[in-house]
Symmetry: C2
Subunit: 299 residues, 2 copies
């Protein structure tokens, strides 16, 4: 059976049983150590919606799927323990293609020290990857914890992936922006710095929309002063006739980390502050959250 062969191949690639994952791929469900999981999130990457296959290699795509799912864990001050991956494979998707996809998933999972413990294969018209990331935190960081007086901090680039996406749509296949879109990075490296943080969210839909979520949940207003911009983003905005900062504010998929804190945080730069009121402003002007990146979202 082709199905059995595919699953045996994935088991070889992910080979994930360990002391903390006694039962992995090959049974009806995976079994994990009792105290490994108290946070869960799911993310989907759907062909023709989130990506076109000629925009990135299958290995990039697998990598991207794991990282975008894990990013939500970082925003909760959690670290990843395990992931399950549900794949919809279209007609003509070969076992070699599946292997490339799984190599990318494995690459990302290794960096995150996250085991891929199971999944599901289905046929379907369009290629899609639905990744459930399981993690653990001792103190969840919520969207609702920001306090008036807190500073807003950012770790990571914003606007770079959105520039890359536009370049890909225009036919460009190389460059810093394209690479940023293809291989986002869940910011687990700064999770240990989040001790004093009061609220957090990852930037998947653009600063405007994600800050609006945070402001709404915390019942306050966020005033942005300015945002560090990569030279390539500024150059692309000029070339494309876009207003400066528009990609940072309204472009998604950077998976930077946005947090609020009364104290400075290592690895983060200050970009604004929490004040009384509602909504989000950028350099004194109200920002329209509805303009953010929208292909539906995690909930």
């Amino acid at each position: 059976l082709s199905e059995w062969r595919k699953i045996a191949m994935l088991r070889d690639v992910f080979s994930t049983t360990s002391k903390t994952v006694p039962i992995s791929i090959g049974d009806d469900a995976a079994v994990l150590d009792d105290r490994l999981v108290n946070v869960v999130t799911v993310d989907a990457q759907v062909e023709h919606v989130h990506f076109e296959r000629d925009w990135l290699s299958l290995r990039d795509l697998g990598y991207r799927a794991i990282m975008t799912a894990a990013s939500d864990l970082a925003a909760m001050r959690a670290t990843p323990s395990a992931a399950v991956v549900a794949l919809t494979l279209p007609e003509g998707f070969s076992d070699t293609d599946l292997e490339q996809l799984s190599f990318g998933q494995r690459d990302a999972a290794k960096i995150l020290r996250c085991a891929i413990v199971g999944g599901n294969l289905s046929r379907g018209r369009d290629l899609s990857l639905t990744t459930t990331a399981l993690g653990h935190t001792h103190a969840p960081l919520l969207r609702s914890g920001a306090q008036v007086g807190d500073t807003v901090y950012l770790a990571g680039e914003v606007g770079l992936a959105a520039a890359g996406l536009r370049q890909l749509q225009q036919g460009r296949r190389t460059g810093v922006c394209v690479d940023a879109w293809r291989r986002p990075c869940a910011r687990m490296d700064v999770v240990p710095s989040l001790g004093a943080a009061t609220a957090g969210i990852d930037v998947s839909d653009g600063l405007a929309q994600d800050l609006a979520h945070l402001a709404l949940a915390s019942h306050l207003r966020i005033e942005l002063d300015g945002v560090p911009q990569h030279a390539e983003v500024l150059a692309f905005e000029r070339l494309a006739g876009l207003p400066a900062y528009s990609l940072a504010l309204y472009g998604g998929e950077d998976y930077a980390l946005l947090v609020t804190s009364p104290l400075p945080l290592i690895g983060f730069v200050p970009i604004g502050r929490c004040v009384q009121g509602a909504g989000v402003s950028f350099q004194g002007t109200n920002v329209d959250a509805a303009k953010g990146f929208d292909h539906f979202a995690a909930f």
Copy 2:
């Protein structure tokens, strides 16, 4: 934003924060009680592969998606704690449609005492539901634990859903078989009876294939004597010119529970035994596992 409205609606339908689920829909990830989860499985229901929309109501579909995912937990001797649901919604899928789907998910989750704690919404060409079920077990039941001399036990109908699927494909829209396909039942009711069980699997791909998985994992041979058959299945097989028992052996999606045990188990009927060797036989004839239901599978 239509996305925000959809997510607010789902939060209202699932409304799942509780003592054991402090953070549910509305943040970057859900937060669960520390000892709630040590088993995880994922299942997908994809339009044109697993179902056509005129075969069942959207409420049935939501119900079905939760039950098929949870069935894998029952087979591991686990009980469900929580689920996350990733939905791909095609053009024209209205908020009312989404509400109906979520009502079905809620119906099933209530029966299973399982919280729906988060998810993902994406656009896509075809409707699909990818459900990750999280559960807990004190003693996982594996496919590999069967012993020579054990009896093979079954809880639930086999062949009924396969007859229903064929009737739906032929245009029939009512009846016992059709209902069995539309509203499968994860057999959590018999999980407490599994104390003496040595191995388990749920019947998603037909007896032939699922018993072959069990025999292979346990390094033994399974001899089936006979299988209880619903009168409707026998009648349908006669009418369709199919060999008796072919739907039970080769038709999938009943989500009955198949276990091995040296002792009788309440709620189960004996259907065969474990002997030395390999493969599966039915009434003395070798069974071809490769003929089982195949639209890929969970791993």
